[in-house]
């Protein structure tokens, strides 16, 4: 009897502990591979690591050096230009397409997947395709010439001042359909009764959307912004495939900067410092959002 009770007790205890035991490998992996690694990279950013990691503390020297590099300034300026246009155009295009698609369109079921499929592709594929489409020799410029528009000129991808905009073109192509889907989901959640009431009051369609519908899409705007902002800071593959950071350094961004300083230019300390700045940028965007989301749930 007593023995049995002891066993039951053990069983209950095990059942109580089991969920935590089962969760612990994930927690351990997260602590080591995410937060431990972040701490390690932060440490490296304060060390004099060159080709190999070194543990000699040199304080903020890497950060001071980093902010004196014109290469880094080119990278962050490009990121600012790219992110602003990418987020702006994706949002406007995504919202417009969603509103247009929400007008009881026949064939919506066919159009939606057409708008969305690019997001299934790898940025390397997108980059490869757009690289040749934007190439003046065989791409769009050549095609326009063949169709008789002889003066058509479009060589941004070879132009130092314009190349960053070609990255925007390809990135918008890839993601705007996804943003459209987010807004469409938001629009489908808007109560039709409110719209009908406003229309009876004589509101025009334009006013209806500007005053009532779009303000109701606030959560979708927020999600779209957070996703696009973090994607733009992380963007690496597309630039490698489309321009390789060139011509010259014209399309370098922090992600390509970090990679080349860390692995090919033997300046691991500076590379780590740039990675820390990338992380802080994303954290500044993500943390308030996650905090609000998680708090709301409680």
């Amino acid at each position: 009897m007593a023995n049995n009770a002891g066993q039951d007790d053990f069983q209950t205890k095990l059942q109580n502990w089991l969920p935590k035991i089962v969760l612990s490998p994930s927690i351990a992996a997260m602590v080591v591979f995410v937060y431990g690694f972040i701490a390690f990279t932060v440490y490296i950013s304060f060390s004099d690591s060159k080709m190999l990691p070194s543990y000699d503390w040199i304080g903020l020297a890497n950060y001071t050096k980093l902010w004196k590099l014109s290469h880094w300034w080119v990278s962050i300026t490009n990121l600012a230009v790219f992110a602003t246009l990418y987020i702006g155009i994706c949002t406007v295009l995504g919202l417009s397409l969603a509103i247009l698609l929400d007008q009881k369109i026949r064939g919506e079921g066919m159009l939606r997947p057409i708008y969305l499929y690019p997001m299934a592709l790898s940025f390397i594929v997108t980059g490869t395709a757009w690289k040749w489409i934007l190439d003046p020799g065989i791409g769009l410029e050549n095609t326009m010439h063949q169709w008789g528009w002889e003066s058509f000129h479009f060589d941004w991808i070879k132009d130092r001042n314009m190349a960053i905009y070609t990255v925007v073109i390809a990135a918008v192509w890839q993601t705007s359909g996804f943003v459209m889907a987010m807004f469409l989901a938001g629009l489908r959640g808007v109560d039709n009764e409110i719209l009908k009431a406003a229309q009876i009051d004589g509101a025009s369609n334009w006013r209806l959307y500007r005053r009532i519908v779009i303000p109701m899409l606030r959560p979708a705007f927020l999600s779209a912004f957070v996703i696009l902002a973090h994607l733009s800071v992380k963007s690496y593959d597309l630039i490698i495939a489309l321009t390789g950071g060139g011509p010259g350094r014209a399309t370098e961004v922090p992600a390509t900067f970090m990679y080349s300083y860390t692995f090919t230019r033997n300046s691991m300390g500076i590379g780590a410092a740039s990675a820390v700045i990338m992380l802080m940028t994303i954290a500044a965007i993500i943390t308030p959002y996650l905090y609000a989301e998680l708090k709301e749930k409680k």
Binding site: F40, L116, T128, Y236
Partner: protein, 292 residues
Amino acid sequence: MSNVTQDTAVRTSTFTRIFIYGLLILFAAYYLMPLFVMIVNSLKPLSEITSGNMMALPEVWTLEPWRQAWSKAQIGIEPTGLKPYFVNSLLIVIPAVFISTIIGAINGYVLTKWRFRGDTLIFGALLFSCFIPFQIVLIPMAIVLGKLGIAGSIPGLVLVHVVYGIGFTTLYYRNYYAVFPTELVRAAQIDGAGFFRIFWRIMLPISGPITVVSVIWQFTNVWNDFLFGASFAGQEQPMTVALNNLVQSSTGVKEYNVHFAGAILAALPTLLVYIVAGRYFVRGLMAGSVKG
């Protein structure tokens, strides 16, 4: 004058509707154009591309670029085509997707049905890890993979993708299980069902839709990954890295038709998955991202 459709609240005139359809079709053309260019030009001989028009259909149809891209093209130093790299990608993707999805399901189950002090904090920390720029982990990961003796190997990449995938899979399952009535779990518990029994018999049977989402998400992410593949793959490169090597190679004539065929080959698995199950993916993705 105005064309009132029955169940939409917003009324639009016939003229406006024609305009809307025109715009929507124009955008459909914009999204389809690159795919059209890739397919059409992958079926042309090279001479037709360099002298011709990228929007024109082939005058001579040929599958040779596809054969080249698949089994003959020079990638790096070996003329192997993309085939072995395609296989590498499959060998990385299948275990990585399987393992991260299972872990995500169990984590989601624990975090919603066996709540404990601090579980929101753990979930928050896990969620934050979904968004980190991976540049922040490249250096220590290279060292750790070396120490574990799996640098430059497929198991190494599987580990990397599992570790950075469980944040997302946990998020999906947690949101999905959160709306499942906890009373049913408690009732089963009173009837004597244990932790795993409840998971197998109650939670898993209802998990179909979210598993589709998790699998598709992980499949696309891992298949499309370039950064980890380029950093840690060594000789066992995945498809994206090989495609980039093929396209960027500076030796010889640029064989655009082969590049296009290779790009489609790299895109094919995710496109297929998207075509077959895309509807569920979008539905689930919305549930995940809009609801948080």
